[in-house]
Symmetry: C2
Subunit: 218 residues, 2 copies
């Protein structure tokens, strides 16, 4: 996924903003616009215009033009390429319960270059069935299947208590990246990329911002 030449020296913050730019630009394109300025993007996305220009400089192959700004179509293509959305990567999902089902059903992943090819669960009632088109296998098969399917990305959507075990199984099958939706701390070697989808952290940040806003206005 993505472009090798671009992996270095791009901050996590910049990478994290890319999908927002992409969504925004697609909106604008749909609205029939052809070019856009960093100023306009910054204003709408509540960012600093210089930051936007720096971010775009990282990925864009075509320079912006004074007085006009950037070609929207070019930017979209560049961000898609940068994020690796133009080629699809397979992933497996551990946990076919509530959240797992929701994730499997979230069609959007296809747009993000992610294709969930298999799900795993312990529940015998689920094994052998399909959730949103994704076949569910026995959790005992994780390592074996991951290896067979040659999958690098595992998504964990199991209860806290089962998360570490799921991660270990994925890794022992050869997975190299774990997207962890369980609110559990995973202990994994540094050679594995881990992204914790930490709802608690998000909520904490939102709460603090809310508290700040309420505090400041009186």
């Amino acid at each position: 996924m993505g472009n090798n030449k671009e992996i270095a020296n791009v901050s996590k913050a910049t990478i994290g903003r890319m999908p927002a730019y992409l969504r925004y630009l697609k909106e604008k394109e749909l609205a029939g616009e052809r070019t856009i300025s960093s100023t306009a993007i910054a204003e709408d996305l509540r960012l600093n215009a210089v930051q936007v220009r720096k971010d775009l400089a990282v990925i864009s192959t075509v320079a912006g033009k004074p007085k006009l700004g950037f070609e929207i179509a070019d930017l979209i293509a560049d961000i898609n390429r940068f994020l690796g959305y133009d080629n699809v990567t397979d992933a497996v999902l551990v946990g076919a319960g509530g959240l797992g089902r929701a994730l499997a059903g979230y069609g959007g992943f296809r747009n993000y270059g992610l294709n969930i090819v298999a799900a795993f669960d312990k529940d015998p009632d689920l094994i052998g069935k399909k959730i949103n088109g994704v076949p569910v296998f026995d959790a005992g098969e994780i390592a074996h299947m991951v290896r067979r399917l040659n999958v690098l990305i595992g998504i964990i959507a199991v209860p806290k208590a089962a998360a570490q075990q799921a991660a270990d199984a994925l890794v022992s099958g050869g997975a190299r990246a774990i997207w962890n939706f369980a609110s559990a701390h995973l202990n994994l070697p540094d050679s594995i990329a881990v992204k914790n989808e930490d709802m608690a952290a998000s909520l904490a940040i939102l709460s603090k911002r809310l508290a700040e806003i309420l505090y400041n206005e009186k």
Copy 2:
């Protein structure tokens, strides 16, 4: 939620790490340990020890002791208080489909001081029912109900196309914080706290990290 005296001068990054500390400390407490050093936390959580000490200094009421470290129980209490987990805030959920259902069923929120009191959807088949114990109302009622329930936090779990409308309804009812799970850019006044749960951004960061790891090892 949280403590007013502590809202200023605490970076988003620090706030975001708090839940991870909390989870980790609870683990340790459960394992029967009484004290812990910043060094140990840093090692396990892959952080810098000085950073851990600085983070803890923000919230802790009790100083650490040389040679021993911090009292785990004290830290847990302090973080709980800091994050506002010791008092519960009501929230409403817009969207009772796959993701909405998963969120409603995610019992963990209660631990994070969040209580979902109502859900909304357009689907007549869902209205009047309950999803995981949360009653579902007509989406047309959002503003009215939010005002009546005096709710400040709204969670958006609807398809992209409906997200802005949902946000507007929440805000017009008096909500001041929006937790947005739709991958859509919301246009809202600065007086509203918004946290985008941007799956695409997370995936992008994970993918880049994976690419980096794979690239570096050959």
